[in-house]
Amino acid sequence: MAEKLIRVLVAKPGLDGHDRGAKVVARALRDAGMEVIYTGLRQTPEQIAAAAVQEDVNVVCLSLLSGAHNHLFPKVVQLLKEKDAGDILVVGGGVIPDADIPYLKENGIAEIFTPGTPTSKAIEFITSHVQ
């Protein structure tokens, strides 16, 4: 009975105390039958990468509303690669200007979900992109 269960880490990097969005996403993913590990607020990229490795997740969802995404998101991707965990899918969400999205995608963030995205879209993306 090796049914494949998708494990997701939902993380809040940096100095940002608003996790309502992250919790909505966590809940939606749970209701879609995934195992969601929530890290809590104000995590460093190092903490997030370490948690992702220990939990052996398939996906890391980063949520950020503070504006530091161009710095923090690629850093998580880079640390995962260093830990031999570059196969983990990394997606991001939050208040992210359209202009920044190409840069983030170039740096290994598979997809960015901005405010107003239906949770079903994120679920669909994750389900179809997890190896």
Partner: protein
């Protein structure tokens, strides 16, 4: 087996992969599990249970930090419930332990209960064995102590800690749930709150009523985990209990008993998996069910028939 070698060298990615594979009963895992069994037995396994919000994760965090000062390698298995409706779960115990993420000597893994068929005990069993073989000195298993499966998990530990908090009417809850019998150590957490002393006294009275069956008298410790108060004493008691287990010979007895239940559990689970698969493969099952439903036959005849056919 490359993965096993990597894991035993302390590569957390490899340990994590191995646990995932074992949890999903993958082919690769069973070989690794067979090989690593010889290396198990060195870890002190500590179960921590108590009602939601009693401070288990915070307490675990503080206990582990203390043990890390003594340079012990520590693993934590944090169990949270899986939704029986969607199969999904939110595992949030890491929130209280995020300082430990970057500690090389600590491994934290969140596990969902994954519902039926004893999935939880199986996952915890495999994960414990893997971590034990990877030379962790302590393995903490943290579960919400409300259901039978959680109590079963805790029973697999060498030392079981029951965490209580004032204000939940816990004195009565304690007799109801039978957790008085499973605790080797009791903790009244959030003891700066009203009612902590009363809870401690009531607990003591209840424990005094237990039929004497061992040399070990379960101590009751008062803690305020969020402020690290009383944590050093708890660590002391955990160690004392292990010394007691070793010196009294009870460790051997407990582990021997545990082995027996583990093996029976695994056999039952394999059989269940086998039967469920077999029954869903053979189309006749649905038909038979309809026959029972229409009172053409009865459930007991069907069960006997199914059993006889599959054991042929």
């Amino acid at each position: 087996m490359e993965l096993l070698k990597e894991a035993r060298n302390g590569n957390k990615r490899a340990i994590a992969r191995l646990i995932t594979l074992a949890e999903s009963e993958a082919e690769e895992a069973s070989h690794a599990l067979q090989q690593l069994y010889a290396y198990t037995g060195g870890a002190h396994i500590v179960g921590i249970t108590g009602p939601p919000g009693s401070g288990k994760s915070t307490l675990t965090d503080k206990i582990v930090k203390k043990l890390r000062k003594e340079d012990k390698k520590v693993a934590i298995l944090a169990v949270d419930p899986t939704s029986p409706f969607t199969g999904g779960a939110i595992l949030g115990d890491r929130v209280r332990m995020s300082d430990l993420n970057l500690d090389e000597g600590v491994y934290i893994r969140s596990l969902g209960t994954r519902g039926k068929l004893g999935g939880l005990s199986k996952a915890v069993h495999y994960a414990t064995k893997i971590l034990d073989a990877c030379d962790y000195d302590y393995i903490f298993i943290e579960t919400v102590g409300v259901g039978q499966s959680e109590v079963d998990i805790v029973k697999t530990a060498d030392t079981t800690i029951v965490v209580m908090v004032p204000g939940l009417g816990d004195d009565i809850q304690a007799i109801k749930a039978g957790i008085l019998e499973i605790g080797d150590l009791f903790i009244v957490n959030k003891s700066d709150r009203d009612g902590a002393n009363r809870l401690s006294i009531e607990l003591q009275m209840m424990l005094d009523l237990n039929a004497v069956k061992s040399e070990w008298t379960p101590p009751i410790n008062m803690t305020v985990a969020s402020k690290s108060e009383g944590v050093d004493e708890v660590v002391e008691k955990i160690k004392n209990h292990f010394v007691y287990l070793q010196e009294s010979g009870e460790l051997t007895v407990r582990r021997r008993q545990r082995l027996e239940t583990e093996i029976i559990d695994l056999v039952i689970q394999k059989l269940t998996t086998y039967m469920t698969k077999k029954m869903s493969k053979e189309g006749s099952y649905e038909e038979e069910l309809n026959r029972v439903f229409n009172k053409e036959t009865d459930p007991y005849t069907l069960v006997n028939k199914m059993l006889n056919e599959s054991l042929k």
